[in-house]
Symmetry: C2
Subunit: 339 residues, 2 copies
DNA sequence: ATACTCCACTTAATCGTTTAACTGCTTAAT
DNA sequence: ATTAAGCAGTTAAACGATTAAGTGGAGTAT
């Protein structure tokens, strides 16, 4: 592989001049610049990344997700990664994906990436309510940005969706259809995003003068199976809900499944609303009313904010991207046995 | 950040000794080793990755997918990446994800990553029938491995699924149910994987003494919309098929959608088989009979083969992972109008 | 004529590792 | 007694860039 020395020799200049030409730093005459660029082209020269990184920055963004093995497989995460990768590459950065293993926890891994200078910044996936990652990484002085909701006590720039407004909108949609007993299948409360979603749901109930029923609020996991279990629990109630708001499409799919298994019909006996708008939401039967989350935009926003922090050391504010309610066939007016 | 010099000073040895201890190369007394390790722990020292990579290897695997932005969002790809990332990390490697941009094609990007020493090896996603990437990269002398099917004329180690046997099995399942007019919605023929899938389908027809009908074989894209279009085309035939084999679950979902839109019932009027077994295949209505592809295992196999190539310079053979037919409710005996 | 400023470069130090080659010292073999 | 081998280190030269400081010559102001 050609090095900067080979280029310098061929262009009859010093390596410094080559570097100045390539980086646009320093003053170089037009003739010399042309000779250098010709030599670069002829040799197919590419600056060695390690050597450059040793003097400057790694130009790499790290992504370490909690059990990324699982999260990576999540279609939402994938879409976000696509946006992140796209925006990062456009800005001259690469994405480094590392998975925690049996011998190295997520936190250790993140710290190792930072300490070894492998990454210039980190994306914290799924910020938790009392997450130790931001403070751990802050000690190392590395730029970072979290995905989730702003959380009291955690000083870390955050990008996420406006779940509060979204949940409010979705709940309002159900209320307007005539529902009075609306259940919430939420993420576990240790995730930062569970709180705003709950708040939005409550706000809508209050605005409509409805009383909150604790039995109708379920804290679930994030898999489809968790959605099934949550819905089954709701169906055993003496007064089951006539509508369900789920914090993700995946949970909603689980709920739909459980409803069908109980010989009830989604969109007739029980309305269901999800959140994400996964490609499949439009193609389940019935199709799912859901809050569309701009996951790709989430990725690009993360990249821009993080790179801004790395290069200009400016701390970005909290950014919440808006959700949009997509009304399909899983929601309808409540079912009445007679009349 | 602590460097090897800081550690050496604290342990009262030379930097060489520190390096020998940390890498397990060279002979060091037990006492000295202990002092060095203590110093490492006290300083929280992590070797600088760029400096190390400058002398040795980058310990990084690159993934550049064709329009990875799109592919990354594919649930199958995501699952594969999870496996890849897991196995790579366990072997001390990281995953670098880069996306081609408007100004830099996939091939240019891959070559840049290699020439700049940023990656030790590359995963070629979705090998095409006359793919130029392997020969381009072979010139650069970089280890690589492709995802897809072995293809004549392309000298590149490959890991993929045994689509021929899989398609054969799936077709056989439909034939055994009594179907005689079985359609194939295949990937575009420029993908390496389309050929074995087609071959498997043909083999099964031949084995059952059925004649192949060219009108029943459709070359589609890979999105759900492509599946819809393909199925609509099949439904306009004078003798539409009674069963459809799709090369992916996503195509199958599209086909199911088109069938429903034509007021027919999947699993009654027309049987559908997919390939992948995405999480949602079990939860569509009706649930989808499909070939389960071990995508996570695909990722780990890729990692092992590629790292073997990087570290031991041994060229792995072609590896095909077996598919397993999961029978659900989208397939049944052909519908008979009378009797 | 002298001093100063530009210009367009070059020189050489530096980043933090790895590793071949060397250095004393002790012990074993001839 | 001499040579050889082994041990446990150290020294210093890479690896391939970046960049502060230096250089020599032309042009300009005093």
């Amino acid at each position: 592989m050609a090095t900067i020395k080979d280029v310098a020799r061929r262009a009859q200049v010093s390596t410094a001049t080559v570097s100045y030409v390539l980086n646009g730093t320093g003053v170089v005459s037009e003739a010399t610049r042309a000779r250098v660029l010709a030599a670069v082209a002829e040799l197919g020269y590419q600056p060695n990344h390690s050597a450059r990184a040793l003097r400057t920055r790694s130009h790499t963004i790290g992504v370490v997700a909690p059990g990324i093995a699982g999260r990576l497989a999540d279609p939402g995460t994938a879409e976000m990664l696509a946006g992140l990768s796209e925006a990062a590459t456009a800005a001259g950065y690469c994405l480094l994906i590392a998975a925690p293993t049996a011998t190295e926890s997520e936190e250790e891994l993140a710290l190792r990436l930072v300490r070894s200078g492998r990454v210039d910044g980190l994306v914290i996936v799924d910020l938790r309510r009392d997450d130790e990652r931001p403070s751990l990484l802050a000690e190392a002085g590395v730029p970072m940005i979290a995905i989730g909701a702003p959380t009291p006590g955690i000083a870390c720039p955050v990008v996420g969706f406006d779940l509060r407004t979204g949940a409010e909108q979705a709940s309002h949609h159900l209320i307007r259809l005539g529902h009075r007993r609306i259940a919430l299948i939420n993420f576990p409360s240790d995730l930062s995003i569970s709180e705003p979603f709950y708040t939005g749901y409550l706000n809508a109930l209050h605005a409509a003068g409805l009383r909150r029923d604790a039995a109708l609020v379920i804290e679930a996991g994030s898999s489809e199976t968790d959605g099934v279990a949550a819905m089954q629990e709701l169906l055993t109630l003496r007064h089951p809900p006539t509508a369900v708001l789920a914090a993700s499409d995946t949970l909603a799919f689980g709920a739909m499944h459980a409803i069908r298994d109980a010989s009830l019909t989604v969109g007739v006996h029980i309305s269901v609303v999800g959140c994400d708008d996964l490609p499949l939401a439009a193609h389940t039967y019935p199709s799912l009313t859901t809050l569309r989350a701009p996951r790709r935009e989430l990725g690009t926003t993360l990249a821009h904010h993080l790179i801004g922090q790395i290069e200009r050391r400016n701390a970005p504010a909290v950014t919440l991207l808006p959700l949009r309610l997509i009304i399909r066939h899983s929601t309808a007016a409540p079912f009445r046995v007679s009349g």
